[in-house]
Symmetry: C2
Subunit: 199 residues, 2 copies
DNA sequence: GGTATAGGTAAACGCTGTTGACCTGTCAAA
DNA sequence: TTTGACAGGTCAACAGCGTTTACCTATACC
């Protein structure tokens, strides 16, 4: 049998599968944003979406699948890599310091706070690899590009993590500016070529 | 009533409370080391220690309490802060790069790998604050000491985290040396004084 | 000897993510 | 028109988790 919503000339846009899937996804997004990931159970999502719990696993494999899908759509690490190479580290530094101040989308903020969850960690790591390390490495080029990319990622991730420990301490504008400068300097140092191999 | 093991001149060294507590703690340490934190359940620990599950919560409040106790004893962040200030960043860099290579105690390695768990994250954060940020900040002194300490911690944490994503990539000796140098340079930059406030 | 109590146990509680069996309505073919 | 297949959905259960409550038992004191 051919499912109606998969036929090219379908008239009714699938009242069932796609609509339900979307409703679940939207509920999950809302709840993850307001409550965090770990604090939201499958049953909560199902209830919010007005569907049965089993559908979550039917459509998304597992609770983690919801997260993967949401992060795939929203993009945890928006396109910072593209753009003028000369201002790359500036953009990254501003993004990082911005995150230090709890900026970013509400979803980003929520997920940063529930970053302890193993599911989230796993998905995040996948995203980080494909949306940060690999493109950055390709963007940089050169023999040591992977190491450079790793160092940059380390600084950025570390900042986010420290923020979770210390809490978001609001800086005055010019302190923030200085911090951004410093972070940019760190990133620049990360990208500096390793000296020519002596051995 | 006065508990025997708490009286100064007790003869039998408490076959009960303390011994049982220690047995639970040792079982937990072993299992956490070999399996990670999240993969070990309260019942597994209890079974391994030959005691009832309820005793874990009786003696340690919760599963997390075991972790807190173990990390308190072993010290996740051994005394790197003390010692010659001139070689501080070198020591930290070597420690960090060592961790990149999966060095450190087996327990450290295991916990690094299961660092996704919320419990572990919470306990780690507490330890990091009291064993890293605060002493480092005190050690450095000066107006901007907390910011410097945060930046240092960010670099160190970030490196650990990136390692989890990329896996431990074994570096050749001289590459490792170069990486250590680079990390040290990053840390030095973290500690550089902010230029005098112009505004 | 009687009794308070520390130490220990068994069984449950409420929750989690996940799964398999079942129902139901629609749509295609005979 | 009847029949059958099947997608979409529901219900109830599973196995596991951390934790808690009620109970038992042996020891140590009065």
């Amino acid at each position: 049998m051919v499912r109606p919503e998969e036929t090219g000339g379908g008239s009714a846009p699938a009242r069932g599968r796609e609509a339900t899937r979307a409703r679940i996804l939207e509920s999950a997004r809302e709840l993850f944003t307001s409550e965090g990931y770990g604090a939201v159970s499958s049953r909560m999502i199902a209830a919010h979406a007005g569907v049965n719990v089993a559908l979550i696993n039917r459509y998304f494999g597992a609770k983690r699948g919801l997260l993967t899908e949401i992060l795939r759509e929203d993009g945890v690490f928006p396109g910072l890599i593209e753009g003028d190479p000369d201002t790359l580290t500036r953009r990254l530094a501003e993004h990082a310091v911005g995150r230090l101040h709890g900026e970013g989308t509400p979803l980003q903020r929520a997920l940063d706070h529930s970053s302890g969850d193993p599911d989230l960690q796993a998905v995040y790591q996948g995203r980080l690899k494909s949306a940060m390390l690999e493109p950055l490495s390709a963007y940089l080029g050169g023999e040591h590009a992977p190491v450079h990319a790793s160092l940059v990622a380390a600084v950025l991730l570390g900042l986010t993590r420290v923020r979770l420990i210390e809490g978001a301490t609001a800086l005055r504008a010019h302190d923030r500016e200085r911090l951004t400068d410093r972070v940019q300097a760190l990133l620049d140092l990360c990208l500096e070529e390793f000296e020519a191999d002596g051995g």
